[in-house]
Symmetry: C2
Subunit: 246 residues, 2 copies
Amino acid sequence: MSWRKEQRRAERGYHHGNLKEALLQAALGLIAEKGAAGFTFADAARMAGVSAAAPYRHFRDRDELLSSIAQRGFEQFEARLTEAWDDGRPDTVTAFERVGRAYLAFAREEPAFYNAMFESGLPVDANAALQAASERAFNVIRAAAERLAALASPGTPRPPAMMMALHIWSMAHGVASLFSRGDAARRKLPMSPDELLEAEVLIYLRGLGFPTDRRPQAKSAEPPPVPPEASSGSGVPPGGPWGKPK
Amino acid sequence: MSWRKEQRRAERGYHHGNLKEALLQAALGLIAEKGAAGFTFADAARMAGVSAAAPYRHFRDRDELLSSIAQRGFEQFEARLTEAWDDGRPDTVTAFERVGRAYLAFAREEPAFYNAMFESGLPVDANAALQAASERAFNVIRAAAERLAALASPGTPRPPAMMMALHIWSMAHGVASLFSRGDAARRKLPMSPDELLEAEVLIYLRGLGFPTDRRPQAKSAEPPPVPPEASSGSGVPPGGPWGKPK
DNA sequence: CAGCTCATGTGAACGATCTTTACATGAGCT
DNA sequence: AGCTCATGTAAAGATCGTTCACATGAGCTG
């Protein structure tokens, strides 16, 4: 029973050396397994091989650990989105959809982070640093929407980029949290969450009057010439974004 | 100290008489206050004036109480959505948007139910009855989407109703959980969640080629005549769904 | 190198929760 | 009147979050 603890202690000495990091990693693993609600401070301590009181030297309380994880999550999230956006290459629409896929991929591949960030119930404004990190991540989407808005067909009012960004965010978050993660993924779907979101975004963009055929655009100040399909009929390409209906 | 408990007991006798219901109500109140994560079985018992062990006569464990609440929530949710849909009166698009608003209204007005249903972390398939209730609620959206799909402009492929329903659900859930409830509502927005969702759905529907001017349609088998704006230009009415840009 | 300091970890303890177990009560039926 | 069984209670064990007094040893200071 207790020789194990002694053993551990013998291996690493009285001081852990890197407990804060170890706790964050342990918590991450536990949240991935059992959700933010199921994760316990004591478990994290045990997993790091220290007493239940040790974590209090590094985090005021359980919530502070959680919000540290959320913050780190937003930072990685921002990085992933930025990378996916790739400054709008090769063309704005393609890059924009890549951001959508990156959103879902993050939710799927980093369930613990996503959980801490959006589903742990901690207040958005718990922590100034957290809020800032969250805003930086959102700003990636916002900036992309800004560029997309600039592509609006001439003669049509330019949609507010902020609104577009909020719309895209809500779609991505909705799909992720309803269909793409953990228990929710068990809901049976006629298509993958990725395809679902991609179609949703494409239809939305078409609703705004954007060409969605992904032709690379020159990065010019004036909008590119309107492709034929954007000004004739309802703008629906044959087959539509959802594939060929039978 | 303990005269209070005796007092309570004197008022109602040894047997409570309606404990199951009282526990559900108490839990609902507690979840509304502190979220599903913060709610404790013991608190619910205390609030109902019984010992901490009493609830186990009515629910296997805390999770079963939670899933009972979620189930009841889905039932009320279904009722609200059905009422909002009103069988597509006065016209399909108007009714469809009313469903969207009803979704948000439910999320806002019944935070406890919404929390238990979508944010409590309980598995979708925890319980057959729960899953069934959830599917019945979704079917309201699905049926509405079915009717909407039948309105597709002639010559354009008819979008799969299932996909549309999933899209609408993800939008509504995304907006609700990001902006419309509890802590999340503190995120500052340039518009209300209701307006945000309404614009989102309108743009989406336009992307599918639907007329979105809410003219009442005859309930005929064949689609109504295509309004001019749906077949000319990009289909964007002046001002767009997001109001007048400056 | 000796000694001091302070960040870091320990163990014990408190109150709260979840859950089980043996026992108490009384409503409704015979 | 008496029996039975659903319903409630008290007590107890296990786990958690959190605090407090105390132990340890890494790194600075002289």
